[in-house]
Symmetry: C2
Subunit: 301 residues, 2 copies
Amino acid sequence: MKLVQCVPNFSEGRRPEVIAAILAAITAVPLVRLLDHKPDADHNRVVVTMVGEPAAVLEAAFRATAKARDLIDMEQHSGEHPRMGAADVIPFVPLGTTTMDDCVALAEALGERIARELNIPVYLYERAARRPERQNLAEVRRGEYEGLKLEIVKPERQPDFGPARLHPTAGATVVGARPPLVAFNVNLDTADVKVAKAIAKTVRESSGGLPAVKGLGLMLEATGQAQISMNMVDYNVTGLHVVFEAIKKEAAKHGVKVANSEVIGLLPAKALLDVARHYLALTDFSPEQVLELKLATPDES
Amino acid sequence: MKLVQCVPNFSEGRRPEVIAAILAAITAVPLVRLLDHKPDADHNRVVVTMVGEPAAVLEAAFRATAKARDLIDMEQHSGEHPRMGAADVIPFVPLGTTTMDDCVALAEALGERIARELNIPVYLYERAARRPERQNLAEVRRGEYEGLKLEIVKPERQPDFGPARLHPTAGATVVGARPPLVAFNVNLDTADVKVAKAIAKTVRESSGGLPAVKGLGLMLEATGQAQISMNMVDYNVTGLHVVFEAIKKEAAKHGVKVANSEVIGLLPAKALLDVARHYLALTDFSPEQVLELKLATPDES
């Protein structure tokens, strides 16, 4: 059986009873595991992580979207994080033997259903995007709920599914497919944030560094360490060991050493198995050899 | 919920219908996954790997032992591998958050039940051993089925559970608890097997090397590489990266490089996560952060 991860973001981070109702809609679906949820009151937003059999995860994402539509009114919503809908962004992420194409198909099926049954306009983004500019979530969400209300009628802002007008309370929803994202930070044995900023510039894709790496230099006041804080947006393109070695090399040029590193939140096993494989020069290795990964694929029966 | 691995060895590697009946006894138990089985006709033996909820795995191991008792006659058995019973050796191995103490308790409960209900003498071995010399499986199995038939009446050979006589067809069974075993080979960039033998001698515990490492040097005829072939009997004591770095260092003394390495068969995720953690200098990392490991722990519900 295949497995998929889904990380929907809902525009509610303050009312626990609303968050609980959305989570209950998810956990009511068999073959879906709710792994995590992170409400943020400032952002007025909750990020939910679920994993399971693809059709079941699609069903759970749909029911959670329906619940969010019923309980969240975007006319009343404020928060620091950019948003344009009650169910704001719903990415599917491949796990195990599931492919990115599988996730694109799931995004299309969910988007079509949300538009048809809930009367909410839906945009497809990132790997599921049907227009090149919609690969970029920030571009899809430009103007947020308030701005899109006016702009949605323009040809370039029309949704991929559903009506060219926002739902009166639930706004619009962005559905897509993306690789797993790993939050990976490397701490330097220096309090000089300029070194971290210089290294971040060298390794991040946007300034000509490693593909699929976003990063910035910052200061950890608590430990007095300068940090390169990164989002590894596709570890199949650039692995954690690749960026770690690049940072070690750059740090040496500044006469600085790497102190340690940290992974924030969840990550797929393969992101770290690739690291072990690299350093041990492992050949003929398959993730199927890892006991828990065999277990993560439920029985056919 | 907790998870345990169990790797029973049965004295049948030639009759597929007998192997199928033993496996069916295991798969009939809910909350147990049969992950692997490797029959060997020369050894006339099958090694079975199952994983699941501890009480369920105990039940499956008991039922499989009962089936082996009914279908295997040790009086008729021959094979290259040392053995003394139809269900020959049954180790429990901790996975996830299960402890070695949990596994010792499982071994004791299974051993007591096999003796009481099936009338088979049972020896406790390795971490479950009640006599120091029984920590060593070879010592428990000394003389094999034929030899033990005579010696079982001696005080030092009496079983931990059950009668001081072999079962007339099923012999005796050894039950125990042990850490996961990882078969890890490192290949050298040389055809000189003497170098591999010298390095193996340096790294293995028996000749004063690293604790919990067994190893020997041998020649891979197919690739013309000398190999250090190892059993890592407790990667919590000596990790794969520790022995890998030790071999690299020793190889350099001989003017030789490490070409690559390989893991044979199954291993727990933690054995490789520890490697990644070491090389990335990861701090504050928990295996709970790995998506698939969260999934390997079934829901409470």
